[in-house]
Subunit: 480 residues, 2 copies
């Protein structure tokens, strides 16, 4: 299939009703990933996907650096002895670990996450309270042998993330960091990219292996399943004890450090970005993150070709001076083919320049609303920012309408069948509540995702499962 | 060891005479790497190293994108069947490959390089001449089981690079790409970073496994050994045939594509950057790449503290408006401790602000010349650019003085013992010359590195080894 043929593809799949198919097709047609690599669970990220992942990394790295984190690169391999140091951790991760064939004496794992790599060095780097806080992160690919069905970007055996590992002198500071991580997530994922989420404190039985507690960010995908986005963990001092990470405090006494970690999986965030904003015609990318923010399509005849091209170049130069990422589509396709090509790929704004536009205002196509308006060149940036606001507003509304208060298991069932999240009174999210959660899971294949961490929600009745006094308000959802 | 104690370290090692020690110590004292990770050949890259690696990536990625390359991310694992498709390639790499313990049916390798990952997909992506040229790259970590002694950044079992893999419709275009790659190397490594190198066409027996020919960039390290920096390979059509990468040409006929690949190893380039410009007092970083370009050290008493801090903040703001990366050292160290701290870490410019500087010009310390001058604030950027020019000029001079014309093996021996590169007449760099190269290797533990690719050099006498007619001018050096 040559370039000529490729562009004739049109895209028209009902995202809401047939999400699974929509998702697979858009990754293929917008050339984000290729699933034909010959290893199960490993996909190839194509240029559009790679640019988006790079841009997501940039957003998170900039924000983390602003908040006092520094980058590092740790080895991809972790020796077995490190893993064994924290028993809960190895128990949680060992079924998922890829091991290397032995070369030397040591047995090596491909990192599924890097606590046990970082913390060995932390025990060497930290000596006194002056070395704290220590806030480091790395951009890294990690490996997990998923046994459930894999899906590109959503659940793969290799994925791309950032992991930040932090040490503090007190529990108070560590908890502040957890709060800061949630703010970082909110600032980028919600305020910038327009992806709404629930910051939920996970139930005891669902926390990170080795953590005291875990706050996950649940995003609702169009098929009614939530997906965990950045999670942040208060590690208490379990790892510090296993790895002997101590500091001398201001009084000259030795203490173990308090630790947190935070892990935005950028490839999975990309999956949400695609799924939340995309529509039945393909991708819709926020202006702020799109590798191409404005595509210019010249529409000319042999007669006015020169004038049109001059104008098109002028527009490009002006926009680039404003820091906008612009592409002129100078391919041999017809204008109609070009429109399709960039619509499927989600370019937020398209400027069409024909004979009329030489004299009058520009014709601007808004990808999200799929309509054309007339604008001055100097309005383009504002139009981009407005588009992002609309995307956020739309996603917000949908998300709010998808959280339903449920007073009975019957209502929970109905809510889940409508691809929504059930908000209910519940007995406990510590060990005492696990039985009730198991009933939910068994009956509905759904999960008690936890309680709100950003606000305090007071239960007013009885547990939706066991009917005993409710102590918490939980969110129940199907999940990836 | 707390922060207080760390800063008291001073650095004073003769780089030229004791390079090996200098190199190990500077990596440690400037906190670039940590070798205490408990797996042989794998080191931890600390913040200064990570920032520099990020900046190097940025330089190369910007340049590659300008020249029409697009980013991708391929899986880290490569199935054995892909490897086996190109016999020379597997033969060249298989001793170095890390294999994973089998999980499914397929045997998986950690990529030592990604030709056999990319090219399987290229056979699916390329159909017609319209799909060409295809120019893709990825930033990636690669894995090689080195059996020689490992050295941080120089030879490690995991390292950080970019690999660009390109397909063309004709040999001519492919050779043009090889030329372009050399220009890219020259533009960044030499013109920007001030690291001189020889672009050498490798002898037949030393080319990349699966290539028709290889151009390597040899940088001379202070211990007299050359290190290969970015190499670019004309793959001819061996891989295209093994992976069945064909296109329909404009005449409608099927042809195999012509391929090239290019691999700047950014972690190894960092090793050269450190080694070429560093001096006996520590790191010296070029202004253009240093994560901190200007450090400001306030020198105050209780009396003028407020005024000094105000001034320092003003200077920082003004410089940041110019796009300069500035840090105020507001730690509790003494000014002397601060000077040492940033000198070892190679910060190119230091501004000292005391009572005098409130009225007169600023005091600027130039890291490369280790002297202070008086300047106006608006000159700072120019001083940074000048510093880079001086570094380049100094490296240039040293490099030129290190290439010695040798007419006999005796002279070669003497040149090598003086930590220099021997330039000699030689019989052949195809198979016919291999015996002579073996004699060089056996006698001097040195290597025939190849012939100049950027200029044509005519031999005027006889082969320095066999005394038969010389057909080429080669460069002989010890190497990493």
């Amino acid at each position: 299939m040559g370039k000529k043929e490729k562009v004739k593809v049109s895209f028209n799949i009902n995202k809401k009703e047939n999400f699974s198919n929509w998702y697979s097709e858009i990754l293929d047609k917008a050339e984000i990933t290729d699933i034909r690599y010959n290893v199960k669970g490993f996909v190839v990220i194509r240029p559009l996907g790679a640019f988006l992942i790079e841009n997501l990394y940039k957003l998170w790295e900039t924000e983390l650096q602003k908040r006092g984190h520094f980058p590092v690169f740790f080895p991809t391999v972790i020796p077995e002895e490190n893993f064994k140091k924290e028993s809960q951790h190895i128990e949680g991760f060992s079924p998922e670990v890829f091991w290397l064939e032995k070369k030397g004496e040591e047995k090596l794992a491909l990192r599924p996450t890097s606590e046990t790599a970082f913390y060995q060095l932390y025990s060497l780097w930290i000596r006194s309270w002056r070395d704290l806080p220590l806030k480091l992160y790395q951009r890294a690919n990690v490996f997990r042998y998923e046994t459930k069905a894999t899906r590109p970007l959503i659940r793969a055996r290799e994925f791309y993330w950032l992991e930040s590992h932090n040490c503090f002198a007190s529990r108070e500071e560590a908890e502040k960091q957890v709060q800061e991580d949630i703010e970082t997530t909110k600032k980028i994922m919600y305020q910038k990219l327009g992806i709404p989420f629930l910051p939920l404190k996970r139930p005891e039985w669902d926390k990170f292996a080795g953590a005291e507690y875990t706050i996950g960010s649940d995003v609702l995908m169009p098929d009614g399943k939530v997906i965990q986005q950045p999670s942040t963990h208060l590690l208490e001092r379990g790892f510090a004890k296993s790895f002997n990470i101590k500091f001398t405090n201001k009084e000259g006494k030795e203490e173990y450090v308090w630790q947190t970690c935070y892990g935005p999986a950028v490839s999975r965030i990309l999956a949400s970005l695609i799924s939340i904003h995309g529509d039945d015609s393909g991708l819709v990318l926020p202006f702020c993150i799109s590798p191409i923010q404005v595509v210019i399509v010249p529409i000319y005849t042999m007669k006015n070709k020169r004038k049109i091209w001059k104008k098109v170049q002028e527009i490009k130069n002006k926009l680039e001076q404003e820091g906008i990422r612009v592409k002129i589509d100078d391919s041999e396709k017809t204008p109609g083919e070009k429109f399709y090509f960039w619509e499927v790929r989600g370019v937020p704004l398209r400027i069409e320049v024909g004979e009329k536009e030489l004299k009058e205002k520009l014709t601007l196509f808004l990808r999200d609303e799929k309509r054309k308006i007339k604008v001055d060149l100097k309005e383009i940036k504002k139009q981009g920012l407005n588009l992002d606001k609309r995307l956020k507003r739309k996603a917000d509304k949908e998300f709010k309408n998808s959280i339903i208060n449920c007073k009975s298991l019957e209502e929970v069932k109905k809510t889940l069948s409508q691809k929504k999240i059930a908000r209910c009174n519940f007995c406990f999210i510590d060990k005492r509540g696990e039985k009730c959660a198991e009933i939910v899971e068994k009956n509905f294949l759904a999960f008690v995702r936890g309680i709100r961490h950003d606000i305090k929600e007071k239960p007013t009745g009885k547990c939706v499962v066991c009917n005993k006094k409710a102590n918490v308000v939980v969110y129940i959802a199907k999940s990836y």
